[in-house]
């Protein structure tokens, strides 16, 4: 009995990519996402006769999420951020918060904000950002330079009136 009308091949070709992307978003590591995706389709193969057509493709994504959850359960204790944040979760208050600066600079596009945030808040290198966003390092460098230029303009415009009244010294930036 083959309760699923489509062939396994068709399902693999149609959904391998979407399942992989779900896995990649869930675990952020390409090699692990590939492994989880293969586990999902292995599970599909093993459950082939028990599934009905209406269960697909949702079943695939459910299994993908479960496998990703297993991955995180396994790695939970190894995450340094978790142990570092056990006692206190806070979002430090800066005199001039990056989030506020990014939000006020309307000329920035999402890719600029993402590059800036990954660079300065997440502490990623250009190479790591490039890999995360599927860009070249040169593109990332360009986005960062352009964003910094806009942010500098934004800061100067914001600070100039204050300095004229003897306020902040950020005009040096």
């Amino acid at each position: 009995m083959t309760p699923v009308a489509a062939s396994f091949d068709d399902l693999y070709k149609t959904y391998a990519g979407p399942v992989y992307r779900v896995c990649l978003r869930a675990v952020s590591r390409r090699e692990v996402a590939e492994e989880l995706t293969s586990e999902v389709f292995l599970a599909l193969h093993q459950s082939w006769t028990k599934l009905s057509p209406e269960q697909l493709p949702a079943w695939l994504f459910t299994v993908a999420k479960r496998r990703a959850a297993d991955y995180w359960r396994h790695h939970y204790v190894e995450e340094s951020w978790v142990s570092a944040q056990v006692e206190e979760i806070n979002c430090p208050q800066f005199e001039y918060p990056l989030a506020d600066l990014l939000a006020r600079c309307t000329a920035l596009k999402p890719v600029h904000r993402v590059c800036i945030t990954l660079r300065f808040s997440q502490g990623m290198s250009r190479a790591e950002i490039a890999q995360q966003l599927n860009l070249s390092e040169l593109q990332v460098k360009g986005h960062l330079q352009y964003a910094l230029q806009l942010l500098r303009q934004q800061m100067v415009e914001k600070v100039r009136p204050e300095t004229e009244t003897g306020g902040d010294t950020l005009v040096e930036l």
Binding site: Y20, E34, H45, L101, I116, T117
Partner: protein, 296 residues
Amino acid sequence: MSNSDFDSEELELSALHGEPPQACPPLNLLLAHQEGVLPPELAQRIQQHLDRCPLCPMLLADLATLPEAPFTPGQEQRIAARLPSTDAGTPTVISSGPVRSRRHLAAFAAIAAVMIVCITVGSHMFLHRQPAPVANNAPPAVPSTPPATVAALEIPLAPLAPPGNDTVAPLTRGAHGAEPSIDELLPAFDAYNTADYATAAKRFATLRKDYPHSEIVLLYLGVSQLFLHQDADAAATLALARHAATPSSADAAEWYSAIAAQRLHSPDAKALLDSLCKKPGSKYSAESCRIAPTLP
């Protein structure tokens, strides 16, 4: 990341951003939380942070607007290679799959037949007069024009199974002999077996200091580096692994060296696969013979 990693313009914002670094969760945790796959306690902590931090929700919202990474044929091939197959490395062939095996094999046979016709005849007109037979429901595999060359196949990267306990003579193990003891290897293989290749690579690299000529350490360090896409390091490590290898692990060392070489666009990839192809007893032989002719 130290300040030396920033160029002069970036230092401006780095200084503004201030110290200590903002205690936001790493991006992988934020994304995992968004997908709802974190353990409850951790998810709760992330949510508490998101409720208070203006930056992280902005980051997640912005990321959602960016195009996702493409799903490449190489990735599809690597995933398929992990599925049970009748032909190692051939995508999506599962030996006992209902309906699928016959159709899949027929489709691949059709594709192979068409490719052969295209290459040997090389005539568009001929293809139109005598199209190659294509199985029912097979994907449209006939190219409209004959390809000038066969596209190089990617050598699939699959995890190398951990060695058995009898791989190396016990007398050579431990206490800085030729090979580490089982106990010394276990932490590295614990990470390796869970696909935590970053940790595995660190632990194998540590072992390498005490066992610089260990075939096991060099081989699995090289494989871990391949999974981490540290291709140049992997090529160097695996070259040493080939020299240190015993006959039982030599084929694996050559195979994974070929993967590193291909990623580095080195002609060594073809030479290594040709060598493996000529070893009929090797488990990599058939796959090497299939891929080697496609490499430059």
